[in-house]
């Protein structure tokens, strides 16, 4: 299944500036693995060492939060829209 994965602004430098990447996979988990194959290094920004979604990032399939669907096992169909959205604070690291 080929879906459009929308890359958030802060991660676009890892996808050579692309805001959308076509990826293959039947579930969100497979999609993220495919995304990592195409753009190595991006997955660790989104997932922790155990492969679980980091808690400041959300994934939406067709604008619906996967935490309220089947998590990373949420099914993905051809032509689906998958958005990765992290929290944004802006500013600086100084507290």
């Amino acid at each position: 299944m080929a879906a459009t994965v929308r890359i958030p602004t802060p991660l676009q430098r890892l996808t050579k500036g692309q805001s959308e990447v076509q990826c293959e996979g039947k579930t969100v988990a497979e999609l993220l693995s495919d995304l990592e194959k195409r753009h190595p290094g991006i997955k660790e920004r989104i997932c922790d060492q155990q492969g679980k979604l980091r808690r400041f990032v959300n994934v939406f399939v067709n604008e619906e939060d996967i935490r309220f669907l089947q998590g990373d096992q949420t099914a993905v169909k051809d032509g689906d829209d998958v958005s990765i959205i992290p929290a944004i604070a802006g500013g600086s690291n100084l507290l």
């Binding site: 958030p8 939406f60 992290p86 944004i88």
Partner: protein, 274 residues
């Protein structure tokens, strides 16, 4: 209350909007908003709120104006470099609209003062620049039941959301934990374009005005996501999480704490820190 001749002249272009009118304008003049941060987001937001006639505007910011602020923090001027940002902002806002009372608070918002600082205001607008403050503001607003407008921007884009405590999704419902330092780039590291922050900051003021005047539909339970490279907007559905640590059915955060780069949950009896 009634409006003076000068007020009628000043606000005429918004008074003629049926959703506003004299009644809506009087509501605005009686309302109060706290803006956390006189920076990229706070600048346009404060300007639009003052221009519209929000009666009382509080601005809290612990920093002084720096030269590197001026490409995007449009409420400050070159002569303000070195001046506390809350004071600098207050001067511009007052010059724009002497009708409005501005409280400039040159201080950091902390777990100790958050309750006292936020409590007098009808609504809070979060224009802060770090995750710890954002989660603190979110927690304080939920505990105080104060509506909060959240927004953030970086590089060419950003996001925004209106939070009505315990009625709509809060920041922690959507992002249960803040990132650790370094996991999400900051503007200092990745850069930001002023106009992109301006889109978000102006939207935040707009959402605040909707709530204060009472028209339209609030931007609740939908995260407004702006991609400024293609100038495309997406709305993604978010919802209150019954397991949210702050606004859920069994909240574990019942008092405010600010430690290091992340807020921490405190269990036990609820105490309001002041």
């Amino acid at each position: 209350m009634g409006l003076s001749k000068e007020q009628v002249a000043r606000y005429s272009r918004q008074l003629i909007l049926p959703e506003i009118g004299v009644h809506g304008q009087e509501r605005l003049l009686r309302s109060s908003v706290l803006i956390v941060g006189a920076g990229g987001l706070g600048s346009p937001a404060a300007l639009y709120l003052a221009a519209a006639g929000v009666g009382t505007i509080g601005i809290i910011d612990r920093e002084e104006v720096a030269l590197s602020n001026l490409h995007r923090q449009i409420v400050h001027r070159i002569d303000d470099v070195g001046t506390p940002k809350s004071v600098s902002a207050s001067r511009q806002l007052q010059a724009l609209n002497p009708d409005v009372t501005i409280h400039a608070i040159h201080a950091a918002l902390t777990a100790t003062n958050a309750h006292a600082v936020i409590e007098p205001y009808d609504l809070v607008l979060d224009g802060s620049d770090n995750f710890a403050t954002r989660y603190l503001v979110n927690g304080a607003c939920v505990l105080l039941n104060t509506p909060l407008i959240y927004g953030g921007a970086i590089e060419f884009g950003g996001q925004a959301l209106t939070i009505l405590p315990r009625r709509s999704a809060c920041l922690r419902c959507i992002f249960p934990e803040p990132p650790q330092v370094g996991q999400i780039p900051t503007c200092q590291e990745a850069g930001v374009l002023g106009s992109a922050v301006g889109v978000i900051g102006s939207l935040m003021a707009h959402e605040a005005l909707k709530l204060l005047i009472g028209f339209g539909a609030p931007l609740t339970d939908q995260l407004f996501v702006f991609d400024g490279r293609e100038s495309r907007v997406r709305m993604v559905a978010v919802r209150r999480d019954p397991a949210c640590a702050v606004c859920g059915e069994h909240p574990t955060i019942r008092e405010l704490a600010l430690t290091g780069a992340a807020c921490e949950a405190s269990r036990g009896e609820r105490t309001l820190i002041d």
